[in-house]
């Protein structure tokens, strides 16, 4: 199937779920979906492997025209899936026929939206991943966001419009994330938490932070009560990863996101657990409010495993 981009939407990029692994020691950011849960769910709904390549957009979605049959699934926060004149809620898979128009239409609370297509978006594998690395301009579709007029290749060719027999065509509401603009996000203490104890750590857990509009795929900046350190805020530069919360000298935390640099020299007070990263990602910069609650590594990993298990059980009849 070919997809012609009629309208690109905002920041529409080709992404996979896991991002680029194995090149961080060369300074290559991970990239991949901002909301790993939504793209994983969309992939399952489209009958794909969990890590298949799809489209991500922010606040405004693309309009695409197909030239063959296939299945499309949509997920994320604050969009509707339109196929010609029919509309469907997110977390749904729909069969599309050659010549139809697919639109991810933004609603007022639109955050990150995802489209998955049966067979996945077909772009060259760069360093083991199809994710777009915007910072260095490679991967995905020519290393950049989509523009109108681009033509994407999807899957093998003409596919069935039938939802894959082993897959349910929509996600039960109970499994959907509780996205919103006032979220509580669980964290584990970071490697330099002792630099903030006892006062800074207490402020961090007791305060409500607003997501700055200066947030992007690299990092979400938080505005609110500044966090005091007992020592300097700087550390010898060390490896970082998405979810880590750095506190620069001004005491305002920055949560590293999917396009985070691979190393950093600011002290890390905490890390957002993988299970809650979608909640934070979908809390809207400029108006979203976040509180942090401490958890343990064991509990965090159990929640992550549970989330995946629940998703697979809800969608894959045979699992």
């Amino acid at each position: 199937m070919l997809l012609e981009v009629l309208e690109s939407g905002f920041m529409t990029t080709v992404q996979d779920v896991s991002g680029r692994r194995g090149y961080a020691a060369q300074g290559v950011p991970r990239s991949g979906a901002m909301d790993w849960f939504a793209l994983t769910a969309a992939n399952y709904l489209a009958g794909n492997d969990w890590n298949a390549t799809g489209l991500e957009c922010f606040a405004s979605g693309p309009i695409l025209q197909t030239n063959a049959n296939g299945v499309v699934a949509a997920a994320g926060r604050g969009f509707e899936l339109w196929v010609d004149d029919d509309h469907f809620p997110l977390w749904t898979a729909v069969g599309v026929k050659s010549g139809q128009r697919i639109q991810l239409l933004a609603l007022p609370d639109a955050g990150w939206g995802y489209l998955a297509f049966s067979g996945g978006v077909d772009v060259p594998l760069v360093m083991g991943s199809c994710a777009t690395c915007l910072r260095a301009g490679f991967g995905g579709f020519e290393g950049r966001p989509l523009r109108s007029g681009d033509v994407l290749k999807v899957g093998g060719g003409n596919e069935s419009t039938r939802i894959w027999p082993g897959i349910k065509h929509s996600l039960p509401a109970i499994v959907m994330p509780n996205y919103g603009d006032a979220v509580v996000v669980q964290v584990i203490p970071g490697p330099q938490v002792e630099r903030f104890e006892p006062d800074g750590w207490a402020i961090f857990l007791a305060s409500e932070y607003t997501l700055s509009s200066l947030s992007d795929r690299m990092g979400y900046r938080l505005e609110g009560a500044p966090i005091s350190t007992t020592h300097s805020a700087d550390v010898l530069s060390e490896g970082t990863l998405p979810g880590a919360i750095q506190v620069p000298g001004d005491g305002k935390p920055v949560v590293l996101m999917a396009d985070s640099q691979t190393t950093g020299g600011y002290a890390k007070i905490a890390a957002v657990i993988t299970a809650d990263q979608p909640l934070l990602a979908q809390c809207l910069p400029g108006r979203g409010r976040v509180r942090f609650r401490e958890t343990t590594v064991a509990a965090a990993q159990e929640r992550y495993r549970g989330m995946l298990r629940q998703l697979q059980q809800a969608l894959i009849a045979r699992a």
Partner: protein, 213 residues
């Protein structure tokens, strides 16, 4: 998910060599679920998949690797980086000379003399964190960063020297440029330098730069 292991608290080539030795050792174990390692000056970030390994199992592997750590005995790889110093390619060379009360030729000589250890790669794809700058040519950053520094620019910031792998805004004092690509995603490996390598800057002429570029 990842564990961050701190092996010490200072910038030191011996300590950093232990970081790289540990990364090699863990990669050599080929454990299912153990992911990539990211070295820092004195630390190693060790990624793992919690669906296949739990934290205790990862910790066991790390302790086993630390017990049998083998520092590399052969000499590190030396990568020669040709640099055209000054002029349009190094607009801050004169400032660095004046700041340190040296001639331009002396700055070039002091910059191209040492073997610089690559502590790790970070900040931008392919950007090397180099040690070993002669304090005699240290220079503070620009007060106002430039919006775009060309790829290949060689600069000084405080007591550090570095090379921009791609065009980027930055406040480093730019003293020259290399025609080499520090990072090329079409190449395998994409980064020219690897943690643990050593760098030597080789002064070249404008003709040599044009031929190589």
């Amino acid at each position: 998910m990842a564990l961050l292991l701190q092996l010490g608290g200072q910038i030191d080539t011996q300590l950093n060599a232990r970081v790289h030795a540990l990364a090699r050792s863990l990669a050599g174990m080929d454990v299912d679920g153990l992911g990539e390692c990211v070295p820092g000056y004195a630390s190693l970030l060790i990624n793992y998949d919690p669906l296949r390994l739990d934290r205790e199992e990862v910790a066991e592997r790390i302790f086993a690797a630390l017990d049998t750590l083998e520092l590399r005995t052969e000499n590190p790889k030396v990568v020669e980086i040709p640099v055209i110093y000054g002029g349009e390619f190094g607009p801050d060379l004169e400032t660095v000379a004046k700041h340190n009360k040296l001639s331009i030729a002396e700055v070039v000589r002091l910059h191209s003399q040492p073997l610089y250890p690559v502590y790790f790669i970070g900040f931008l794809p392919g950007f090397p964190y180099l040690g070993g700058l002669d304090p005699a040519i240290a220079c503070p950053r620009l007060d106002t960063p430039r919006p775009a520094i060309p790829a290949g620019s060689v600069g000084i910031a405080g007591n550090q020297t570095g090379i921009y792998p791609s065009e980027s805004p930055g406040g480093w004092r730019i003293i020259g440029r290399t025609p080499l690509k520090l990072f090329d995603w079409c190449r395998q490996p994409p980064a020219l330098l690897a943690p643990g390598d050593q760098v030597r800057f080789i002064p070249i002429s404008a003709e040599e730069f044009e031929r190589a570029a």
